[in-house]
């Protein structure tokens, strides 16, 4: 590469790092709230209430506990991945390129 990436040599100012960390924590709290709500809330504590509703042949609480919760977990990680990549870019802390591996094999 002929272009020199100057940013890589500066440590980002620590105030922007703190802001980045706070934004990260907000995302975590929100997504972990969804995680807790679907698994422990809907699928365990409220399971009998939801079971009164029928959904595609399933009692809804039972479906949430054996299918729905897993699908939502998957969605949570997908949203997290996309959201964090954007956050990294917005704060300029993303990794440009992987370092070449040192594996001598």
């Amino acid at each position: 590469m002929s272009k020199i990436d100057t940013r890589a040599d500066d440590t980002p100012p620590s105030r922007s790092r703190q802001k980045y960390w706070r934004a990260n924590l907000k995302i975590l709290l929100l997504l972990l709230g969804v995680w807790f709500g679907t698994s422990f809330g809907l699928s365990i504590l409220a399971v009998d209430v939801l079971d009164r509703v029928k959904f595609a042949g399933f009692p809804l609480g039972f479906w949430m506990a054996q299918q729905g919760s897993i699908l939502i977990f998957l969605l949570i990680i997908l949203v997290y991945t996309i959201w964090m990549n954007r956050l990294d870019k917005a704060y300029g802390v993303e990794e440009k390129r992987p370092k070449a591996g040192h594996d001598a094999s």
């Binding site: 890589a8 040599d9 500066d10 440590t11 980002p12 620590s14 790092r17 980045y20 960390w21 990260n24 975590l28 997504l31 972990l32 995680w35 698994s39 422990f40 699928s43 365990i44 504590l45 399971v47 079971d51 959904f55 595609a56 042949g57 399933f58 009692p59 039972f62 479906w63 506990a65 054996q66 299918q67 919760s69 897993i70 699908l71 977990f73 998957l74 949570i76 990680i77 997908l78 997290y80 991945t81 964090m84 990549n85 990294d88 300029g92 802390v93 993303e94 990794e95 992987p98 370092k99 591996g101 040192h102 594996d103 001598a104 094999s105």
Partner: protein, 576 residues
Amino acid sequence: MGIQGWTYLFIFITFSVYVGIAIWSRVMSTRGFYVAGGTVHPLANGAATAADWMSAASFISMAGIISFLGRDGSVYLMGWTGGYVLLALLLAPYLRKFGQYTVPDFVGERYYSKTARLVAVICAIFISFTYVTGQMRGVGVVFSRFLEIEIFWGVFIGMVVVFTYAVLGGMKGITYTQVAQYCVLIFAYLLPAIFIAITLTGNVIPQIGFGAEVKGEEGVFLLDRLNGLNRDLGFSAYTGGSKSTIDVFFITAALMVGTAGLPHVIIRFFTVPKVSDARLSAFWALLFIAILYLTAPAVAAFARTNFLQTVSNTAYSEAPEWFRNWESTGLIKFEDKNGDGIMQYYNDENPAYASMAESNGWKGNEITVDRDIMVLANPEIARLPNWVIALVAAGGLAAALSTAAGLLLVISSAISHDLLKRMLLPKITESQELTVARIAAGAAVVIAGYFGVNPPDYVASVVAFAFGLAAASFFPVLVMGIFSKRMNREGAIAGMLVGLIFTAGYIIYFKFINPQANTSENWWFGISPEGIGTLGMLLNFAVSLSLGKFFPPPPDAVQRMVEDIRVPRRDHGERR
């Protein structure tokens, strides 16, 4: 070709692939051996993590357990998938940025303490050995049931194969064989499930068929039929639960947190090039796991329906063919207690049902079933061709071997890297360390194989241990190491020890010292030994956070390290 012929063929092909990958992926550096050089593609790492995680228990036993537990079986489904949310959000990206080789590495450096590293090494080795013994046993069982050869030789063949790719290729060999093993196991799991869904409900997708109407009977939903069948025999309704809500809550939490704290899963995220790849590969991992975990409850419901419809109250002389085939393995037994030649299967522990059974002239439940049969005999129950049955054997082996290899690497690196290089002999060269790592992996294979052939009879009960201990020891220490800059070694070590001793004490008391007392009336707050890890984890957090306040904060270098792992970008001149 018969079942045995097909089984030999599939096992030969798949094992050749695994060994071939091992030879192709030989490594010559410790970085290659411990973390595959940090060059694994996130998609490949996702598949490898899925195979690493899904053990013989997930493949062979889980659907059977759910089949007998009904809704209560959800604790395993949610517990073993929900942990990935914790792993992806709270641990994987930061531990990847830290960029070392093992979990004790992080604990030792973050808490600037050899004691902390040693406690972590002991936990990692204990958890992994507990787990790997079960895998080797699984290998032996598959060999002995499908090929009718002795468990010893089954385990021996499994050991040779794992030995080849773990010792030669280290993490790199393990990673790419795990990718191949994932493909084998998922295909072997889905194919019979799809066929059974078609026969029972006429629906190709098991997850939908499981809520659909029974084939040929309009207006009768499969789950309603199953609830009826269960209730008629004195069992609780399939979609209703019989465990207390608090116990379900605590078991699910312990399994989730334990999953996130298992070292062989965590180290998989050290193998990708970037922090963002660690996040992405957590998504791929859960996607690949979910394909099996969403199918398992459908298989469970189908198998239970099939079982109750074709076996219960059928004359023994008219028992289905698979029943006879599997009787010889001892996995299913019929004992004609009332001598009427008819197989009565019902819940003889339900006092409300006793009078009903008596009036029928029944003298106790006559059929004993091993839960594993629900997956192993599934293709035969659905009358699938012989090669599908053989495929299930190859799938079970893939699941067991892939998990075993990941665990062996944790044991080997804990010994060569943490114990030797970082604590006892810091002066050894890289190539010496690598040799020790290979010897340690080899020795661990032999020990695991020994316990696979001669399993201590407490193996089944110690699985609760692995999760409980991971939840009560590693998880809090890792999370606080990342999210609390102020957490010091005194707090962390005290928390780890309190969590460990409390959890281990509770499990040992109820499982070994006083097993008769292992009933809900005697449990604290109604929490079973399976769920106690959650309480251990909370204690760990409480002790660390309060005790840590009385001791000085960590040195500046450690605080800078914590600041650093919170941000993906590498700073100039920073060590990797």
